[in-house]
Amino acid sequence: MFLNSLLTNFAALEVGQHLYWQIGNIRLHGQVFLTSWILLGALLVFISLGTKKMENDPKGLQNLLEFLWDYIRDLARTQIGEKVYRDWMPFIGTLFLFVFVSNWGGALIPWRLIKLPSGELGAPTADINTTIALALLVSLSYFYAGLSNKGWRYFEYYVHPTPIMLPFKILEDFTKPLSLSFRLFGNILADELVVGVLVFLVPLILPIPVMFLGLFTSAIQALIFATLAAYYIGEAVEEHH
């Protein structure tokens, strides 16, 4: 009896349900785009407000944005290296901001109050499509970074330091996007599910520490994603002698 009610409660969480949009014969997960547009819109408004009147003595929002910029620059510079970090800083920063805004937006905004015909709104990063898209972009980026910086010598990386490494390095090209996408997807989805289940079982007080933990995980995941992306790019452009 109890198990049965628990299962129906789980069903009420609507795991794996999507709001489908049909355009021609392609199908999209509408809820992912809706939340991402709202969150990215908020991010862009925030950034436009902060950069509207740039001064030499930063005030208010500009201060915060400069701190953010400095943080992203440090991240890119330490992982990619002094030489090419400038080219990749916008990409790394975008990944960080996108993942961070998606994770926190998914955790902080009570999306559940908005009823959809099917599925429910939530963090865009809790959808496997988003995380795979991000991870594949990272893969493309590090290939492009390596090839554009070192030409065909990029492939020396696969036999460095010995040719024995070749199969492992090839395998790495597949495990990198796989681990990137599933780490992010798993963490954010698990966090949403844990909070959802707890809210369902004990609606008062008890979910709050878990929600804080979720915020912490969300921020950490954004940092991990951006740092790893920068690390992979740095690894591809690194000159080894």
Binding site: V15, G16, Q17, H18, I26, R27, L28, H29, V32, F33, S36, L40, L44, I47, S48, T51, M54, E55, N56, P58, Q62, L65, E66, W69, D70, I72, R73, M89, P90, F91, G93, T94, L95, L97, F98, P124, D127, I128, N129, T130, I132, A133, L134, L136, L137, L189
Partner: protein, 153 residues
């Protein structure tokens, strides 16, 4: 076709991969360009301009500081040489005044000696004159006494 399924799910499911993936990728790439022109470039310009300004100022201040130190050292050597010069002049003046004092002293001594000698000579001559007169008077007196004694007889 872009749509394919994981784990045999025909509709929905956690691993339902479809056209959301490439569209999301395009959206993120577009976001990269938008954020680059809205955020990374303008903020970077401001921050780097300020960093350059600060480092320039520090460089200038360092230059000025080294110049000040050089001038200070220069002044110190000048002060030192002025001090030794002053010392030399003072000691020279002291020597000269010493010499003058000695000269004057010697002159005065000589003069005093001379006058002393003159006085002594005068005293001596007067003494001898007085002695001569005394002995003459004694002679006179003795002659008188002798004459008297002879007369009384």
């Amino acid at each position: 076709m872009l749509a394919f399924n994981f784990f045999g799910a025909t509709e929905g499911g956690l691993f339902d991969i479809n056209a959301t993936l490439p569209l999301m990728a395009i959206q993120v790439v577009a976001l990269t360009y938008i954020l680059n022109s809205l955020f990374f470039k303008p903020v970077g310009n401001v921050v780097e301009k300020r960093e350059k300004f600060v480092s320039n100022n520090i460089f200038e201040a360092k230059n000025k500081l080294s110049e000040v130190k050089k001038l200070e050292a220069d002044l110190l050597t000048q002060l030192q040489s002025a001090r030794t010069e002053a010392q030399r002049i003072v000691s020279e003046a002291e020597d000269e005044s010493d010499k003058l004092y000695k000269e004057a002293l010697e002159l005065a001594n000589n003069e005093a000696n001379a006058s002393k000698e003159k006085a002594r000579l005068e005293i001596e001559s007067q003494t001898s004159a007085a002695r001569d007169q005394l002995s003459k008077q004694a002679d006179d007196l003795s002659e008188l006494i002798v004459n008297r004694l002879i007369l009384e007889k």
